[in-house]
Subunit: 195 residues, 4 copies
Amino acid sequence: MAKPNGVSKQELIQYAKECLVEKGTEKFTLRAVADTAGVTQGTIYYHFRTKEQLLLSIVEDICEKSWYEISKSNTYVLKQAIASAKSRCSYNSFFHQLFILMTAASFKNEKIRNQLSEIMQAENQALSENLLKIWPASPVHGVSMEAWGIMFNAMVDGLAMQALLQKDFPVEKVYQEFEQIIEALTNLSEKEAAE
Amino acid sequence: MAKPNGVSKQELIQYAKECLVEKGTEKFTLRAVADTAGVTQGTIYYHFRTKEQLLLSIVEDICEKSWYEISKSNTYVLKQAIASAKSRCSYNSFFHQLFILMTAASFKNEKIRNQLSEIMQAENQALSENLLKIWPASPVHGVSMEAWGIMFNAMVDGLAMQALLQKDFPVEKVYQEFEQIIEALTNLSEKEAAE
Amino acid sequence: MAKPNGVSKQELIQYAKECLVEKGTEKFTLRAVADTAGVTQGTIYYHFRTKEQLLLSIVEDICEKSWYEISKSNTYVLKQAIASAKSRCSYNSFFHQLFILMTAASFKNEKIRNQLSEIMQAENQALSENLLKIWPASPVHGVSMEAWGIMFNAMVDGLAMQALLQKDFPVEKVYQEFEQIIEALTNLSEKEAAE
Amino acid sequence: MAKPNGVSKQELIQYAKECLVEKGTEKFTLRAVADTAGVTQGTIYYHFRTKEQLLLSIVEDICEKSWYEISKSNTYVLKQAIASAKSRCSYNSFFHQLFILMTAASFKNEKIRNQLSEIMQAENQALSENLLKIWPASPVHGVSMEAWGIMFNAMVDGLAMQALLQKDFPVEKVYQEFEQIIEALTNLSEKEAAE
DNA sequence: GATGAATGAGGTTTCATTCAT
DNA sequence: GATGAATGAAACCTCATTCAT
């Protein structure tokens, strides 16, 4: 009976994201989103014309958020980036669960795939640029900064995946050792530069 | 050992895996599996009591296959392991798509998660052992061999994820540079050992 | 006399008619009408209280138009009436499509049915009167002028139906032969009258 | 819970036809058909994969029935054909209501349209052949037998439409006068042939 | 052992309609 | 006078599951 109860599109997306992670792809139904948001299914259809549109909006939202993070990343240094990655890397991490769910969905949805791909490449590049700030040269001769960015990012995602699968995954320990490796690489870099 | 007009359990699993990757989680229906296998839905129910059972069988199958690979890995050396990882790391890679789909499913299914987790830890360990064969000592002081195994594995998965998302991901180039890093680490390891 | 940014009732009816023929009964939704008219659904409700009211207005509109035609028909002769019928009798004819759609709707809506019935009877009568002008007597003994009107009208509608169903229906040829029959009947009429 | 209760596809079509005429296009829902047939909606979907398929099956059924009638028509004579037409031409006539509903649906569905068109042409031809049996020559010079078939058929449909719209349409009277016209035309035909 | 017709719960989607603004 | 966000009922459709055969 048409009371404008002021649930904005953005809020709906937030509710949808929560639903998605809470219920998993399988049980991610529009009814669930509607119930969570306290509106009727019709309302969802008024804002997003299909379920796919809602999913795409979720990806867009993730991407926008990520862009914001990335745009900040030029100023903060690698250590902070890693700290941030670690914080998102825990059993039940909202962000990575969402990302993997979306990756799974992307296999059959090019639009989703393209958007995720874009954000991933942007993250790779942001990482490369950060590395440039602390490394005068590539620590290993023949390995481009671009590649370092790709690999660091890959490792962050890979560790997150392991953490999501394994309840007692030693996040603390692994990240600590990871930072030691970075330190060692930084030393190598300086030696390389000296030559 | 297929029966005259029948389909063996193992064959059904194979068909199911194909369906899953071909159709995606969303459209992975028992009817689709039945159609692909050329049997009726009833037949599937004869072999698996529920859809979940079928899914679990798929994970088990993946794991068995992986165990076999791992058991071999004790004998083959790191380079071959990486070559194998690379070969599975391409846009549309069947194996990694399946693995990510299963990971996504695992978030809401503890049995699946436990199995995937086990296999992942086994792989981590196999990698550690392989590294021990070529590294006399850890290349970086304070980083355990265990951690190196975890991180290498993480990177392989992370790279696969990027490759699945990005059509023109430079697999060749990245893996080549990855191998250069390993070489450099091997040198470092030798220096460490010499001290 | 359209208001600045508004849409008059008459215009809405016109848009609705177009929608109905363009989209068919199935997809004839108030949203479609609103979109076509460039207004919102609310606006339609301002002018028509229900969808049924809009439908009825469409029938009324058709009928009014038809009354106008009929009122003219007393002056123009049969040949012109037939030419007019022929022109409306082509594959994709707007008018007859609308009429048949309305007839289909009328089966479950007495108001619509009554209005369509009235206009049909008026057309029958108008045809009879026209025939009286060119026929001194009924060409066939025992057949009333009223019946001739009914039958001529029936044939015009029946031919239209065939033309709507069959893409390559030979409208030209059939109408030409129809006129020859009328001529023959006119001769008969004169003979009858002479007796 | 899966009791085969033996509702055949053919029976479902019959129930669907009844529903269609009883409820009209608008209210022709699969639930209604299911309820009428005493099965669940799922059953309908087991037999017909979509609503459109069910509609098409209805048309096919009408057409098959009509083919049967037509195949008989080569033997029975015109008078009987007209008697049959008259019997189907009454207020609430099941057959013609169905036919007009389908014609309305056909405007937006080429498959339906093509099938209806075919049956109509077959009927036209069957009528022509029947006329040949009682008319030694065309009653009006220059009017082909083919055209007579088309026009007779058109008139039968047109009269049915009027009868469906008008409760007190004088079917008896009109058909009686129609037969008189045929008689007159038969006389004309004989005169023509004599020349 | 295998089938396939049938189910029923629940999914996505549509749409006439309402009402605060 | 006009809007458009919101509704809720009901539409079409899917699918895991059952069971007589």
